[in-house]
Structure formats: C-alpha cells, structure tokens
C-alpha cells in the first residue's frame, strides 16, 4: 500500500516534470512560428507598410494544433503498440511522424499567408522556411514526445481509463491552452512591441508597427525564440507542469479519503491558495506601478 503510494507519487512527479518540459518547448515553438494570437500582428504589419522577416505559421490556435500533434503522436504510438513494437520505439516513432506532419503544416501556413499578402508587397523569404521550420520542428518534437510519454505513463502506469490517443487529445488541447494563455502576452507585447513603452499596453494606434530590426541586422524568429525562452517559455512550462502535477497528485494521494471527496477537498484548497497568490500579485502591481496619468480618451 505504502509502496504503491510512493510509486504513484514518483510517477506523478515524473509526469509533472515531463509536462514542464512540454509546456516550455510548446511556447517557444509557437513563438518562433508566431502562432496563436500574436500572429495577428505579424499578419497586420505588411498591411501597415512594415515588411518583415518573421516566420508566420498560422496553423490554427495553439490548443487545437497541439491537440493534433500530441494526439497524432499518441495515436501512432498506440497503433504501433498494437503490432507489438517496443513501447519506447513506438513512442519515438509516433512522435517523429507527428513532427513531420507539423513541419509540413508549418511550411504551407507560411507560404499561404505570405502569398496572400502580395497586395502589400510582402515577399516570401524562402530562407525563413529553410532555417526556421527545422527549429520549430525540433521544439515541437520535444513538446510532443514529452507530452505523449506523460500520457503513456498516465495510461499504463497510473491506470487512467482513457486510451492513449484520447489522453493525447485531452492533454494536447490543455497544453496548447496553458501555453498560449501564459506565453502569448509575453511574446505579443514584450517582444513584438519592444519599441513601445514598458509597463503599459500597446496603444491600438501602434498596431502593426512590430519590431523588425535586431541588435545587428534584421530580426528573425530565432531571435524571438531566444527572447521568449527566457521567461514566456519557462513560465508556460511551470504552468502546465503544475496543472498536470497537481491534478495527478491530489488524485493519487487523496482519492482514498472520504470516498473520493478528499481529492476534491484538496483541489478546493489549492484553488483558494492560487486565488490568494493572484490577488496578492494584482494588489502588488497596483501599488508598485501606481495609477497611470489620467487616461483621457483611453476608452473608446
């Protein structure tokens, strides 16, 4: 009994660690590709006369896209497991094929969007495809492989009833949701609009005026990956890691209390703790940054 719990906690911690890596890789990957909401600015810039050399890979929002990549990796692995391929090989092979599909989607998304911007004179920079696609694929492989391995642990070792591919779909969507929610503002505001005031939102009037030149030469999306890997990526990783870890932890450790209500009670306490932290940060921000000057004409 005790041993079971110890193994359960070990697996939980391992799944949480895998999830953290997945979250961090997911966010950096999507930022290099300008996927998700910051994509709208990359798309808008040429219309405003700002021709750029940023990778614009709008496959869809991050949650469904990652739902696809992770479910695909998991489904292929499940099919390979059916024909008695070794689990580790099956997971690696499935994720590799899923990564190839991701890379192909990325190239068509870039070509399609940029070719449709011809009216504003935005050229297709084919070297962007050559140099960035592989980088996003590498990050995507890390995210997919860790996420699929995590799902495999949940299914095979922790005994979750969902089959591998369904877990892949569920956690892939959750991964994309957590990564885009945490990482998007950091890339969208802090990086794309580095030329705007720090500590304030981007005025609507500045939309499309994204930073296109780097410290030396012209900014490309690898610079963006380098930047977001410093905060947005790790924060997304911690966010998704916490979600997976706490979700499993409270179930594995406390489900045996009060016929399952123990896990629910612990979940409730965790939510309250996070609520207090959130409130603390909000008040801290209000006191530290202070009110802005009277916002005349701020509202529409």
């Amino acid at each position: 009994m005790v041993e079971n719990i110890v193994i359960g906690i070990g697996l939980t911690a391992f799944a949480g660690a895998l999830a953290s890596v997945a979250g961090a890789a997911e966010d950096v990957e999507s930022d290099i590709g300008s996927q998700g909401d910051p994509n709208s600015q990359v798309q808008l810039a040429p219309q405003m006369g700002y021709i750029h050399r940023i990778f614009n890979k709008a496959v869809s929002g991050e949650p469904p896209a990652y739902g696809l990549w992770v479910a695909l990796g998991a489904g292929l692995a499940a099919a390979f497991l059916q024909v008695n391929i070794n689990p580790i090989l099956a997971l690696a092979l499935g994720c590799a094929i899923a990564t190839l599909v991701q890379g192909i989607y990325a190239t068509t998304a870039y070509l399609g969007r940029i070719a449709s911007l011809a009216k504003f004179g935005q050229p297709v920079y084919i070297d962007i495809l050559k140099s960035m696609t592989t980088v996003t694929m590498a990050h995507a492989f890390i995210a997919i492989f860790t996420a699929v391995t995590m799902c495999y642990l949940m299914n095979a070792a922790l005994g979750h009833p969902f089959p591998l591919a369904l877990l892949g779909l569920v956690w892939g969507i959750a991964l994309g949701a957590a990564g885009s929610a945490t990482g998007n503002p950091f890339y969208g505001k802090e990086r794309q609009y580095q030329n705007q005031k720090f500590g304030a939102g981007v005025p609507v009037a500045a939309s499309g005026n994204i930073v296109r030149y780097a410290e030396a030469g012209e900014r490309n999306s690898l610079d963006n990956g380098w930047f977001t890997a410093k905060l947005g990526g790790p924060a997304s990783g911690v966010c998704f890691g916490l979600i997976v870890f706490l979700e499993l932890w409270r179930t594995v450790l406390f489900e045996s209390f009060w016929a399952g209500w123990g896990a629910i009670f612990v979940g409730l306490i965790l939510i309250l703790i996070f609520t207090f932290i959130d409130r603390y940060a909000e008040v801290w921000a209000r006191e530290t940054f202070g009110p802005y000057a009277k916002p005349e004409g701020a509202a529409k």
Partner: protein, 278 residues
C-alpha cells in the same frame, strides 16, 4: 470587396426561435420517454447529457478571453481562443472526472468540475504573474469602472490607447467558475454516455462487459469532447469571441446560449445514445 464587419450579436432575443428550440428539446425528450420509458437508463442519460451541455454553454460565458488584442495588452482577458481555452479546462476536468467514475456520479462530476477549476486557476494565475512580473502591467478592466468583487477602481490603471489589460480579480474568479462548470458539464455528459454504452454494448456486440469496456470509454470520451466543442462554439458565437467574464455586459446574453445549448445537446445527445441503444 471588403465585407461587412464582425457581427455585433444583437442584444435582443428572437422569441419564436427560442420557443422553437425549447419545443425541439421537449419533443426529443418526449420521444425518448415514449420509446424507452421515463425510468430507464437511456432517458436519464439523455436528460443528463442535455443538462451537461447547457452547463458547458453557460460556463463558457465566464471564461475571460481577450483574443488577439489581449496578447498585446490592448484588451483584458486571456490571450487565446475562447472555445479552445474552455475546452482545455473542460477536458482537463474530464480527465479527473473519468478517473473518479468508479466512485459514483456525484463524486465524479464534482471531481471533474474541480479539475477544470484548478486548471483555470493555475492558468489565470500565470497570466497575472506574467503581466505583473514579466511586463510590469497592472490589471485593468475596460468594461466596468469598479471591480464587482474587490471594489478596486479600474479606469486609472488602464494605459493609454488600450481597452484595459491583464486579469482583474473578477475575471480570475470568472475563469475559475467557468472551468468548474465546463469540467462539471463535460464529465456529466461523459458519465451519462458511459453508463449507456456499458449497459448496451455487451448485447450489441455479444461480448462480455469487460471486453467492451475500452470501446465504451472511448466512445463516451470522444462524444463528450465532440458535444463539448459544439456547445463551446455556440457559446463563443454568442459572445462574439471575447469576454471579460461575468461582469462583462455581454454576459447578459447568456440565456440565448442556454436555449441553443439545450436544443443542440438534445439533438446530439439522442443521436449519440441511439448509436448504442437502437
């Protein structure tokens, strides 16, 4: 040619359409009553599915999503798509709920709800942390002058040229409530369908209950996800993609989405149940 701008989604309601949607739902429930009887698993499952769908549709209205402008700190909310953020929370809840199915209906759905709420709490917290410690921006609502829960004034924290930014406390609370309702409703749909399939599939496939258990779980899971998405998209249409949470004026539109979710869940639910019950 440039086409008409975004539909504003008028505030009014179409009474005829609402009545029709309710009639449709009642007709489907009535048909199930006549075909299977009221005290049967199928009938109860259908009612549970409809209820779950409506809860999902209602829950989406709480989830604070700002869409693309939120990623630039131009509008408050979480910077992603509303249907998919709700799905992320609801499905994380479904994961927990499916774990707890052996413990019974009430435990399972509440566990699902708490799972969704926990996912949203962590996600919303990290949004606040990134805004505060990563970007140095305090939260400010663009839709209300005073945060309805904390009473904090909002307007003077709004930076110039924006509609607000970050997640005011009410949005955080809304996100947690939305995650709870999504996880609760999604698990309810899953639980109801699972009971139907576990009861009906063994006779349909002439196999033992344990042999078809994976099929029942899979079918119930994929249908729960499918119906979750249908309801989430209907609700997302209702708020035209962005909202700040329950203090947003758009929140008042929720009755329309509930009517739509009730009817849509009834239609999808009866078809999903008939897959095994016919």
């Amino acid at each position: 040619m440039t086409v008409t701008p975004k539909p504003t989604g008028g505030v009014g309601m179409d009474p005829v359409a609402n009545a029709l949607s309710i009639i449709l739902m009642i007709a489907i429930i009535g048909a199930a009553w006549i075909l299977f009887g009221w005290n049967t698993l199928v009938f109860k499952a259908l009612v549970a599915v409809i209820l779950g769908g409506a809860l999902v549709g209602f829950g989406v209205h709480f989830v604070p999503v700002g869409g693309a402008p939120a990623a630039m700190g131009q509008a408050p909310g979480i910077a992603t798509g509303v249907a998919m953020l709700a799905a992320g929370a609801g499905l994380a809840g479904l994961f927990g709920g499916a774990f707890a199915v052996p413990l019974g209906l009430l435990t399972s759905v509440v566990a699902g709800g708490i799972g969704g709420a926990l996912m949203m709490a962590i996600t919303c917290l990290f949004v606040t942390l990134i805004y505060t410690y990563g970007m140095g921006i305090p939260s400010a609502s663009g839709k209300v002058k005073v945060d309805p829960i904390t009473g904090d004034t909002q307007a003077e924290y709004k930076s110039q040229g924006t509609e607000g930014h970050g997640l005011p406390f009410s949005s955080f609370a809304g996100g947690v409530i939305g995650g709870f309702l999504g996880g609760f409703g999604g698990t309810l749909i899953y639980y109801a369908l699972l009971q139907v399939y576990e009861a009906k599939l063994p006779t349909l496939l002439s196999a033992s209950a344990s042999a078809v258990a994976p099929v029942a779980v899979s079918l119930a899971g994929i249908f729960a996800i499918g119906m979750f998405l249908v309801n989430a998209v209907l609700a997302a249409y209702n708020i035209t993609g962005t909202t700040e949470g329950f203090h947003d004026p758009k929140f008042a539109r929720f009755p329309r989405a509930i009517f739509a979710s009730l009817a849509a869940s009834a239609v999808c639910g009866i078809v999903a149940i008939l897959v095994a019950a016919l």
